[in-house]
């Protein structure tokens, strides 16, 4: 396997990789900047894999491993679904399925001042954005987007929340719309909020639709796109 000095490449792109696999040998590549995303690590002269998953590459020089876990590692910029567990004078403590609780400042709402602090009960489900997520520190959240507008952030009322893997969350959020949601959306009206931390919230006019949508998403999680379409159509027919 000869590597051209001008273009670094790895034979493992789009393949399943495991911790310990060597992705790139830096001694064969002359001065190039390579950007490493999650799941990869520089070990002296060699780039090796830290997490099991599929190795991805994007031009000109970005490598990362796409993993799917049941637990979430907080990362700045992610939109997640959190559950309020406690409240202090300046922060809400929110569980986002990470290693530690996250802090949601009491003023991190559009038009938030000391006089109109929202009152969230314990157990309230919130759609929030992760602002800061440094290692070892509790992540900081916000109910505003980067420009200070409320966008869609805030408490989610009614509906039903279930937990999935982070891989399924990313699939549900991918564009073009994933087959399950597209096929369901053609026949039923429902609203859905997907958190990158593996939590999904579904709401609709009747509970039976909510149950149908939730079960469909969970059951078709590991199916190929065509299988998903077939499954969804058969479930819809059963409902009618």
């Amino acid at each position: 396997m000869e590597l051209k000095p001008s273009m670094p490449s790895s034979s493992l792109i789009d393949q399943q990789v495991f911790p310990g696999d060597v992705v790139l040998d830096l001694s064969k590549i002359t001065s190039q900047t390579i950007k490493l995303g999650g799941g990869l690590r520089q070990d002296g002269d060699v780039i090796s894999v830290m997490k099991a998953g599929v190795l991805k590459f994007s031009k000109p020089n970005k490598y990362w491993v796409e993993t799917s876990h049941k637990r979430y590692v907080p990362s700045a910029g992610d939109n997640v679904l959190g559950i309020v567990v406690d409240a202090r004078s300046d922060n809400f403590f929110v569980d986002i399925k990470g290693p530690t609780l996250a802090f949601l400042p009491v003023l991190a709402f559009e038009g938030g001042t000391r006089r109109n602090i929202p009152k969230f009960e314990m157990g309230t489900l919130l759609y929030v954005r992760v602002v800061k997520a440094d290692t070892g520190m509790n992540p900081e959240l916000s109910c505003m987007d980067a420009s200070g507008k409320a966008a869609e952030y805030g408490p989610l009322k009614d509906g039903f929340m279930f937990e999935t893997s982070t891989g399924l969350s990313r699939t549900l959020l991918s564009s073009p719309t994933c087959p399950v949601l597209e096929t369901l959306g053609k026949k039923i009206a429902f609203e859905i909020a997907v958190g990158l931390n593996g939590r999904v919230w579904v709401n609709s006019s009747t509970p039976s639709i909510v149950v149908l949508v939730s079960n469909t998403i969970i059951q078709t999680a590991s199916m190929s796109p065509t299988q998903q379409k077939i499954r969804v159509e058969s479930l819809l027919q059963k409902m009618q």
Binding site: Q42, G44, F103, K132, D134, G136, M137, N138
Partner: protein
Amino acid sequence: MKEREEENFVTPGDILGKALELKPGYGAYFSSHDKTIYASLTGFRSITPAPIDSEDQRATVEVKGHKAHGPVPEPGVVVTARVTNVMAKMASADIVCVGPKSVKEKFTGIIRQQDVRATEIDKVEMHSSFRPGDIVKALVLSLGDARAYYLSTAKNELGVVSAKSAAGATMVPLSWTEMQCPLTGQTEQRKVAKIDAV
């Protein structure tokens, strides 16, 4: 072994010996009305024989070894501390040395966001100044509260003295805001102390 230690454990007022045989050292004093040496501190009694070529051949008795005799941080003193936890608005650290001496018992210090540096104190990012495990030189501001001393690194010669990178190697300082790992070449941000070259 324990019994012997307990025999030697003295409190202020305990008789250490006669002035004819012993000289008072650190933590002991001579009482002239009964010519005996008494202890003035709490600790363990230890006897050091006199040097051979001195006139007075009496051994010296001292009282030492109690942790209350160890150095204690005072306001205005530069201490060396190891950062234990970094939070959004402050970092906590275990004080290891007071000046050049190491402490005998554990003291905790807190470095608040506004005490990290002298300029732009409201824009300080704690995570870009300290990480858990860093060794810092800090100035004691005050005795603080019951839990911790208040420390400050708001001077050029205060801040991170030694830190390990994510790869595990001791980093080399580049400027007052950056340190570099010698293994991977990656730079990490810290509030670095300016140590004068010896």
